[in-house]
Structures are given as structure tokens and as C-alpha cells.
């Protein structure tokens, strides 16, 4: 094995291990909320971490926090799921009673929850969502901000 390979062995798995240790449970929870199937969720978790490992050196880890980076990779992997299940809405959006007990979503209004979940779970852009629900982009962003405020206030309270 060459020097480059040895260096990768020494550094990569350690970093990936730290990422896995800190974020795998969060990521599995997120994916599970999207696909609503534990086995499929685990497959996507595996795919996401493999992609992160593959692109590890090209990621600017200082640009955002690690969770945001990993979440972007997971969303990219889940594109295939969204395409295969067009018209499907993440259960959390439809009604909070269908989703697992979520103290943050429970405090949001239907509009705030819809906007937050459509973007967070279903990878919609603000422009796409604005078109979809026929509301101005500014309103979508405002609702999104309100949803984040609720998350923050719930943590502080």
C-alpha cells in the first residue's frame, strides 16, 4: 500500500467515525421521517456516509456546521426517493398526529409546519413552494423564519 493510501487510512476513518458518532442517529431519524421505513432509511444512511467519505477531501468543512453539510448530502441522496414517490408528502406535513411526537412541529401553525416540512423533508426550494401553494416567495420565507423562531424559543423555554 502506498503512502497516500496509508494516510487516508489514518485520517479518513477517524473523521468519518467522528461524524458518524455525532450525526448518524440524527441522520437516521431525519431519513426515517422522510421515507417512513427503517430498512430503507438505513440504506440511505449508508449511501449518505459513503458519499461523504468519497467527497470528504473536497468538502469545505468550515463553510457550515457539520450537520448542515451531512444533511445536504442526505437530501441529495433522497432525490431518487422523492422522484420515485411523486405526490407523496412527508407524514409530518399532513398532520402532527401522524408523525412522531415532535414538540417543535406541534407548536407551529399549519402554514408554518407545511412550509418548514416541505422544505426540510421534501427538498423543495422557496420558489417551488411559492408556485405550489400559490403564495409569494416573501411569505414563504417569513413563515420559514417563524418556524425557526419557534424551534429556538422552544429550546430556550
Amino acid at each position: 500500500m502506498g503512502k497516500q493510501g496509508e494516510a487516508l487510512l489514518q485520517t479518513k476513518p477517524v473523521s468519518i467515525y467522528i461524524l458518524y458518532d455525532n450525526y448518524a442517529a440524527m441522520l437516521l431519524g431525519y431519513i426515517n421521517e422522510v421515507v417512513k421505513d427503517q430498512v430503507i432509511a438505513e440504506e440511505y444512511l449508508l449511501k449518505t456516509f459513503n458519499t461523504v467519505a468519497k467527497k470528504f477531501n473536497s468538502i469545505n468543512w468550515n463553510e457550515s456546521n457539520n450537520w448542515v453539510h451531512i444533511l445536504r448530502f442526505a437530501k441529495a441522496e433522497l432525490v431518487s426517493f422523492h422522484e420515485a414517490s411523486k405526490g407523496y408528502e412527508t407524514p409530518a406535513i399532513v398532520s402532527t398526529s401522524n408523525s412522531i411526537n415532535n414538540k417543535y412541529l406541534d407548536k407551529m401553525t399549519d402554514e408554518q409546519r407545511h412550509v418548514f416540512c416541505r422544505i426540510y423533508y421534501d427538498k423543495k426550494t422557496t420558489a417551488e413552494l411559492s408556485k405550489e401553494i400559490n403564495k409569494p416567495g416573501e411569505l414563504i420565507k417569513t413563515l420559514l423564519k417563524e418556524a425557526f423562531n419557534i424551534i429556538r424559543e422552544s429550546n430556550e423555554g
Binding site: 493510501g5 487510512l9 476513518p13 468519518i16 448518524a24 437516521l28 444512511l45 449508508l46 422557496t126 420559514l144
Partner: protein, 155 residues
């Protein structure tokens, strides 16, 4: 530029969730470098998002990391650069490799002329052998004919 107004617009939240347009993203990244308030607000939002995600966390089953590790190890082996120094190291070594791990044999380029010579000589010998064989057979036949004629003559 009203920084507070920009922060309150909800564009930062859209960016953190990857829902902002390319144009909005580029502008935000420029402003982030210029205004520490924006950078701080973004940092706070990322923290909020992480807390939200931790609330719905599900521990992965045992053995999951081993599967990921196997994928990484396979990646390392695939990425390994080819060993290009072997030939350089053996430059002064003019021995012909007869036995190696590979089923193929490598020989020095100069051997191609020797092998070509052997091939041509082989062909020449083959043609000569056939020629002399036929000539000998013809001679044998002529001897037989002469013997027959002699027998008839003596009778």
C-alpha cells in the same frame, strides 16, 4: 444595506435548508464575509437545526459503521495510485523475468530481433527439411526403378 432587515427576511433560513436560489446563495455568501452579524445569525440557525434534528434521532443498528468502514476501505484500495517506480528500480537489472506472480513473461525489447531471427531460421530449416525429404524420396524411387530394370535385363 440594512443588515437586520436582511436577516429578518427569512433568506438565511432558506439558505440553511438548501432552499435558496443560486443567486440568493451567492449574495448571502458574499454578505456573510462582510457582515459578522449575518455570519453569527447563520451559525445560530445551524445550531437550531441541529437541535431540531437531535430531537428525532434514532440510534443506528449495531454493525452499521462497519458497513460504512468497508465501503471506505474499498474506496481507499480503488484510489491507490499504480506503482510506477518498479521499472525505474529495475532499470539496471537486465535479467529476463521467467518466474513472476503473473502468468505472463516480460522480456527485454532487444530480444525481439533474436526471436525474429530464430523464427526465420526455423522457417528456413523447415523448408530445407521438406526439400531434402522430397529429394531423398525421389532418389529412392529412382533406385527402385533401376533395380527393377536390372532384374528384367538379367532375365
Amino acid at each position: 444595506m440594512r443588515v437586520k432587515e436582511y436577516i429578518d427576511s427569512g433568506i438565511l433560513e432558506a439558505y440553511v435548508l438548501g432552499a435558496a436560489s443560486e443567486e440568493e446563495t451567492q449574495r448571502l455568501l458574499k454578505l456573510k464575509r462582510r457582515y459578522p452579524e449575518i455570519e453569527e445569525a447563520l451559525f445560530q440557525l445551524e445550531e437550531d437545526l441541529e437541535i431540531f434534528a437531535s430531537h428525532i434521532a434514532i440510534p443506528p443498528p449495531p454493525g452499521m459503521f462497519e458497513k460504512i468502514e468497508r465501503g471506505i476501505n474499498a474506496l481507499i484500495i480503488t484510489d491507490e495510485p499504480p506503482q510506477i517506480n518498479d521499472r525505474e528500480e529495475n532499470k539496471g537489472n537486465q535479467f529476463i523475468e521467467v518466474e513472476a506472480e503473473s502468468s505472463e513473461m516480460r522480456v527485454h525489447k532487444s530480444w525481439r530481433w533474436v526471436l525474429a531471427g530464430i523464427f526465420i531460421l526455423g522457417k528456413i530449416f523447415l523448408v530445407a527439411a521438406i526439400y531434402y525429404f522430397l529429394k531423398d524420396r525421389q532418389a529412392q524411387e529412382q533406385i527402385q526403378e533401376l533395380k527393377t530394370e536390372l532384374r528384367q535385363y538379367h532375365k
